[in-house]
């Protein structure tokens, strides 16, 4: 029982074209910037948007294969948690959860019993009779999850399930969602623009930009070896493309410059290193095998306990330094500096 999909949807000038495979019990995250086509993909899987071409199938069941077959949403074994949850305001939490069971023909008493069980599972025993408006964001999210899971769907679709929560609830609900997804035996697709949600909840990341897959793989691999600037930015790495010969990488014209790496390599490569690996010096440090080049300060931003410094140069680079360093160097925009990175801090991998 594996979900296979080739999603092709044309919407005016925008074209979504991505392949998706989800194994039972697997959580795949679709990660990408706004407007990348994530929600379009989710709507196509749910049957709320027909495919232009391609196919969607769970095992040997065909859900959508234009122009011949199309199964409407109410006949697909799916559960969807929408971004704003879309709980029915006129029904109690219990009736919201029981709605799918009732719609699929479960007798009332049995549907209510199973809805009660689901509400206990998500820890909302005390809120059975509450209307959605009376629930907090986190509680509403849990009702939405219970409602989606109550019908034992084969495919669970989560559209930015944590986006509507405030930061403090989010950490808690994310962990809880992870637990429920771990217990869920079906296929899960999580759509999100938050890399943290994706990294924590998913087994497999699919990153989309402009309607196409730019990179996919296990979260750890994606985090270590980003392949596009967008992914590098998500996982917080400096990323360059270049051509390697032995331990020297000549970077592409876009960034310019050369870097020295520890392990010999050949051919077109990506090189990546964390901003924390960059040190800044007022003068050329001289006489070491490290990478060192002239830069000027383009911007300074405070992040929790570090300061991120944006530097222009060949190549341009991001550096994370301590507030103490900022004070010591008296960093100001336009100031000339030297950036250094140890060769051993740089990860190199073929493009």
């Amino acid at each position: 029982m594996t979900l296979h999909a080739q999603l092709v949807v044309d919407r005016g000038s925008f074209r979504l074209d991505l392949d998706l495979t989800i194994a039972p019990g697997q959580v795949v995250a679709l990660l990408g910037p706004n407007g990348a086509g994530k929600t379009t993909a989710l709507r196509a899987l749910a049957g709320l948007l027909p495919l232009t071409s391609g196919h969607i199938g769970l095992d040997d069941e065909v859900w959508d294969r234009p122009p011949a077959s199309f199964v409407s949403p109410e006949h697909r074994p799916i559960g969807v948690v929408f971004q704003d949850y879309l709980l029915f305001n006129r029904l109690t939490a219990l009736d919201n959860v029981a709605f799918g069971l009732r719609a699929r023909g479960t007798p009332r008493a049995q549907a209510r019993r199973r809805a009660r069980d689901w509400l206990s599972t998500v820890g909302l025993d005390d809120h059975r009779d509450a209307r959605p408006r009376a629930l907090s964001g986190g509680q509403a999210q849990r009702v939405a999850l219970a409602r989606a899971l109550a019908t034992d769907p084969g495919l669970l679709l989560l559209d930015e399930p944590l986006a509507a929560l405030d930061a403090s609830t989010r950490v808690h609900i994310r962990a809880e969602l992870g637990r429920h997804l771990g217990a869920y035996p079906g296929h899960t697709l999580l759509v999100t623009h938050d890399p943290l949600d994706a990294m924590v909840l998913a087994d497999h990341l699919v990153i989309v930009e402009d309607g196409a897959v730019v990179q996919e793989g296990p979260p750890a691999t994606v985090a270590r070896r980003p392949r596009t600037d967008y992914v590098a930015q998500l996982v917080g790495l400096n990323l360059y493309r270049g051509v390697a010969e032995d331990t020297t990488v000549v970077l592409d014209a876009g960034s310019g410059g050369t870097l020295t790496i520890a392990e010999p390599a050949t051919g077109p490569v990506h090189v990546a290193f964390p901003p924390a690996a960059v040190s800044l010096h007022p003068e050329h440090p001289g006489g070491s095998p490290r990478n060192s080049w002239a830069v000027t300060v383009a911007g300074i931003e405070q992040h929790a306990h570090t300061v991120r410094v944006r530097l222009d140069g060949t190549p341009p680079v991001l550096a994370d330094v301590t507030p103490a360093t900022v004070a010591e160097l008296r960093l100001t925009p336009g100031m000339p500096l030297h950036a250094t990175v140890k060769a051993t801090e740089i990860t190199t991998y073929p493009t």
Partner: protein
């Protein structure tokens, strides 16, 4: 700031204030006149007298039946206009609203041409089923429904367009058919619009005159509704006409009060 606002309010230009007052008087004085000239002493007596009581009962029954017809046909029609993927939806919507601006007499004539005993549809109703609609109570209901239905359709369609379609999508992903979704999700969310449309539709049906007298004629006890009775009584028994008018006025005010939140509330 307050002082300036007050000062500005004090300087209402006469060119506007004078016609405004005349306009207000024009609308209110006739209604007041009705109350002044009412035969208050014999009001109760007249109200339950044969003719007035008969017209009142007939009016209430016919307007209510017409409203039921409008609900049964108009709500699905509104749904079709708001949600259906139809080509030429704009043209359809325009057609539906024609009875709003059409002189009701023309509506009555049109109904006669189609449903009359020699009418395009009416002749078959007569031949095959022995049903003849003109000049019957059923005819009154039809004439009223014809004129009043657009009020309901427009009100319900507006509510449907304002309702969030995503809730219907959520219901579909939970396995609900479109009919179940309509009953359990859409209809509850547009209930205020349906209620407003129903009240408006009922009020319009109750006041219907032109189409009714043309299509259903004037037969006391069968087709003489209140507006018809008012018109006829004016010649023979002005006192009864005033009583009937006051009843209609009261019903209209009741309708307005019941809709005050939607129609008279200051827009915010």
């Amino acid at each position: 700031m307050t002082t300036r606002a007050r000062a500005r309010r004090g300087r209402l230009p006469v060119v506007l204030a004078l016609p405004a007052l005349v306009g207000l008087a024009f609308l209110v004085v006739p209604l007041a006149g009705l109350l002044v000239r009412a035969p208050w002493s014999t009001l109760g007596e007249q109200l339950f007298s044969g003719e007035v009581g008969q017209a009142l009962t007939l009016s209430l029954v016919c307007a209510s039946l017409a409203t039921l017809v409008c609900l049964a046909l108009g709500v699905p029609l509104a749904w079709l206009l708001a949600r259906g993927d139809l080509p030429g939806r704009g043209v359809l919507r325009a057609l539906v609203t024609v009875p709003l601006v059409l002189p009701p007499v023309v509506g009555g004539v049109a109904l006669l041409l189609v449903l009359g005993r020699r009418g395009i549809v009416g002749q078959y109703l007569d031949q095959w089923f022995g049903i003849s609609l003109p000049f019957t109570t059923a005819g009154v209901v039809l004439a009223e429904a014809f004129v009043a239905m657009p009020f309901l359709v427009i009100s319900v369609e507006g509510a449907l367009r304002g309702a969030d379609v995503r809730y219907e999508e959520a219901a579909a992903t939970l396995g609900a058919s479109r009919w179940l979704t309509f009953r359990r999700v859409t209809l509850p969310s547009i209930a205020p619009g349906v209620v407003a449309g129903t009240v408006l539709c009922w009020a319009r049906a109750l006041g219907e005159f032109g189409a009714t007298i043309t299509f259903a004629g004037n037969f006391p006890g069968r087709t003489t509704t209140m507006p018809l009775a008012v018109y006829l009584a004016l010649e023979t028994d002005p006192g009864a006409a005033i009583v009937l008018s006051i009843v209609l006025l009261l019903l209209s005010v009741t309708v307005l009060v019941s809709l005050r939140d939607r129609w008279i509330a200051t827009p915010t």
